[in-house]
Subunit: 372 residues, 2 copies
C-alpha cells in the first residue's frame, strides 16, 4: 500500500559527527559554510551504512530507523518537517540524500517550519506548532488514509500536538525510539468533539483566524460565561491583551470547515415517529444501523435512489424502507422514513417536503443518539 | 492552590555524573552497589545546586526544572513514576531526596512501574503504559482538578499516552524541555467519545479486563463487522491469538465505570414536546441551557426540589419551569418538563410517572443535541 509519512526531524542524523554535542551543532553548520555543504558532510558520515538492523540501531538516525520499520519503499512519499534552526535543516537535507540514494525514485520533501524551535515557547506554540499542523494537514488532504505521522525524531514538545492532530484528523501515529527496534502504533481513536457546541462561535473563530487575533475584551463580550470553559482550551492569550487560536482551536476550526468525512444523523420529529413506531418494529429492519452506515459512507450513487431539490430518497438494497434526507454541513437531516409497501411505488411524488417552507413542522431534528 | 504533579521520570538526574553515557548508567548503578547507594551518590552530585535559574538550566534534571516552573511548594504532592530499570529508579530516588531537602515537608512518592522500559515494545504497551495509567488514575481520583501531568522527563514514547490520559480524564499537561525555560501547557480539551457506542460492548471489555485477554475468535464472534472499526483501536492483538485492552480501551472502560463527572441529557418523547412547544417559547426561559448546567454540576441540593422513588423534580431558581428527571449511569433522563403556573403548586402529586411500568410510553429518550 502507498505510504505517505510525515516526520518531525531532529538532529540524530548528526550522531556520526564525532565530538559534536547537539548544542554545538548550529556552530558546526556555520563552520561548514552553511546548510547545503553541512548536509553533504553529514550525509557522507553515514551514506555507506546500509539500512541493516545493526546499522539502524548504531549509526543511522531515528528518522531512518523508524521509516524502515514503518516499511517504506520506492513508491513512498516522505515529508521531512524540520525546525527553523540551521542544524535541523541540515539534518533534514542529509536524510533526504540518504533516502533518495537507498530507495531510488522515492519522493522526499523537506520543509522548514517557521517558529519551530525550542528557545521561545510562545513562538513555538503560536507559530511553530500551527505551521507544522498546516503542512501536515495539506499532506493529509492529499493522501488521506495513507498518511502516517511519525514523531520519532524531533522535539519531544511536538509529540502532544502530533497526537492531537492524529486524533482529530483520524490518522495513525507510528514511532520508535532509539533503544528499541519495534514500532509503536497509536491508531486513530474514535474521539470526537461537540460540533454543535463549536458552531455557536464558529464565526468568531473564523474572525480570529483571519485577523490572527482579537482583543481579550472582544472575546469576553462575545463568549458567554457558561460557554467559556468549553472554548478556553481552544484559544490562548498573547502578550498584549490579545487572544489567538491555540493548536487545538486551529484543528477544531479546520475540521469544521472541511467537508465532513463522517456525517452525524439528526431525525425530525416525524422521522422519530416513523422509525420507532413503524420501521423499527419490523423484523430484520434496523433503520438506525442503516443511517449509521450512510453517515460513514456519505451520500453516493449506491444509496441515493431519487434526488430532487436538495432532498434525497435513500433506498437500502432490496427492502421497502425509504429515507428522505438532506445534508447541512456535517449533518444528515432525516425528514421522513416511509415504507414503499405502505405508501406505494410512487412514494416520491406522494410525499413531498418543502425544506424551506415546512422546516418548522419537522424541526427540531434530534441527534440520532438515544436510549429506549 | 494545592498541586499534585505526576511526573514520568527519566535519567537526566544523572547528568552531573561526568563521563557516564545513558547507556552505561545501568552498569554504573550496579557498580555502586544498587539503587539505594547509587541514588545517594547521584543526589550528592547535585544536592548543592540550589534551584536557581542558572542551575535549573545547567545542572538540575528535567524533572526538577519543570517542577520549579510549574510552581510547586512545600504543600505540593509529587508522584515520581519511574521505569522498571534500576537506573530509572535510582534517578527517582535522587530526585525525591533533592525535593525533600529544598522543599521541607513536601510529599514526594516514587513508584516503580512494571513493564515501563524501552527494550520490549509489547511489554511497554501492554504492561508499562497500563500500569502507568493505573497509578496516574489513582492519583487523579484522589486529587482531581489539582492534578498536573508532567511528561518532561522520561521516555518520549510515553508522551502520547500521557496526552491521551489528560484528555480522557480532563487533566492538564504541563511540560518543559531542557533548552527552554518556559512551560508549555496543554489544557484539558473538550474531547469526548461516544459512550452509547461503547456501551454496546462494555461487558465484553469488562470480561477482557477481568481475564486479561480473550481469544481472537471470541472477539470476532461478538463484535459485529460494522462495529469493528470503532472498537479496534481499543484493543490490541497479543502474540498467541489473544486480544487484550489497548491503553485507549483501558481508559475508555475506566471512564465508563466511574461515576460520570458530567451527565449527558436525554429527553423523552414527551419532554421534547414540553420543551419545544411550551417552555422554550416563553421569554427568558431556555430549558436546554438549564439542563446543560445540571449536566455539568450533577444533581444536588441546589437544584433538586423534590425527590421520590428515583425521580427528581428540579427547580431552576425563581421560575415556574420544573423538570422531572432520573439518572442512569452517565445519562440524565428528562421525563417531563412542566410549568407550575399551568399545572399548579401540587404538580408533583398531580404528575406521576412510574419509570418501570411506563418507560415504553416515554421512550425513546433522545440525546439533547438538536438543530431547529
Amino acid at each position: 500500500m502507498f505510504k505517505s509519512v510525515i516526520c518531525s526531524v531532529g538532529t540524530s542524523a548528526a550522531k556520526n559527527l564525532s565530538g559534536i554535542p547537539p548544542s554545538a551543532l548550529e556552530n558546526w553548520v556555520l563552520e561548514q559554510g552553511g546548510i547545503d555543504t553541512a548536509s553533504e558532510v553529514m550525509f557522507n558520515s553515514f551514506k555507506d551504512k546500509e539500512p541493516s538492523d545493526e546499522n539502524l540501531a548504531r549509526y543511522l538516525s531515528a528518522e531512518i530507523h523508524s521509516l524502515v520499520r514503518i516499511g517504506i519503499d520506492k513508491g513512498s512519499r516522505i515529508l521531512l518537517l524540520a525546525s527553523e534552526t540551521i542544524d535541523g535543516q541540515a539534518c533534514a537535507l542529509a536524510l533526504k540524500k540518504y533516502l533518495e540514494s537507498y530507495w531510488k525514485g522515492i519522493d522526499v520533501q523537506t520543509k522548514k517550519i517557521e517558529g519551530l524551535q525550542v528557545q521561545n515557547a510562545d513562538r513555538f506554540r503560536q507559530q511553530g506548532v500551527i505551521n507544522f499542523i498546516k503542512e501536515a494537514i495539506a499532506e493529509i488532504d492529499c493522501h488521506g488514509n495513507n498518511v502516517i505521522l511519525n514523531p520519532t525524531g524531533g522535539y519531544k514538545a511536538l509529540v502532544p500536538y502530533m497526537v492531537l492532530l492524529g486524533m482529530i484528523k483520524s490518522v495513525k501515529c507510528n514511532y520508535i525510539f532509539e533503544r528499541s527496534t519495534s514500532l509503536l502504533e497509536l491508531p486513530p481513536l474514535p474521539i470526537e468533539f461537540d460540533r454543535n457546541q463549536f458552531e455557536v462561535h464558529k464565526e468568531l473563530f473564523e474572525q480570529i483566524e483571519r485577523d490572527s487575533s482579537i482583543s481579550k475584551q472582544d472575546w469576553g463580550d462575545k463568549v458567554s460565561y457558561e460557554d467559556r470553559s468549553w472554548f478556553e482550551p481552544l484559544v490562548e492569550e498573547m502578550g498584549d491583551n490579545q487572544i489567538t487560536l491555540s493548536a487545538a482551536g486551529f484543528l477544531f476550526l479546520e475540521a469544521m470547515q472541511k467537508p465532513a468525512k463522517k456525517l452525524v444523523s439528526y431525525l425530525s420529529k416525524q422521522a422519530i415517529k416513523d422509525c420507532f413506531e413503524n420501521i423499527a418494529t419490523l423484523d430484520n429492519r434496523d433503520p438506525f444501523r442503516y443511517l449509521n452506515q450512510v453517515s460513514k459512507s456519505g451520500l453516493n450513487e449506491d444509496n441515493v435512489h431519487i434526488h430532487t431539490d436538495g432532498l434525497y430518497w435513500l433506498k437500502p438494497g432490496r427492502t421497502t424502507d425509504r429515507y428522505l434526507v438532506s445534508t447541512e454541513d456535517w449533518r444528515l437531516l432525516v425528514w421522513r422514513v416511509i415504507r414503499e409497501d405502505q405508501v406505494g411505488k410512487d412514494y416520491s411524488t406522494k410525499i413531498k417536503v418543502d425544506p424551506a417552507k415546512e422546516r418548522n413542522e419537522y424541526a427540531p431534528f434530534m441527534r440520532m443518539d438515544f436510549v429506549t
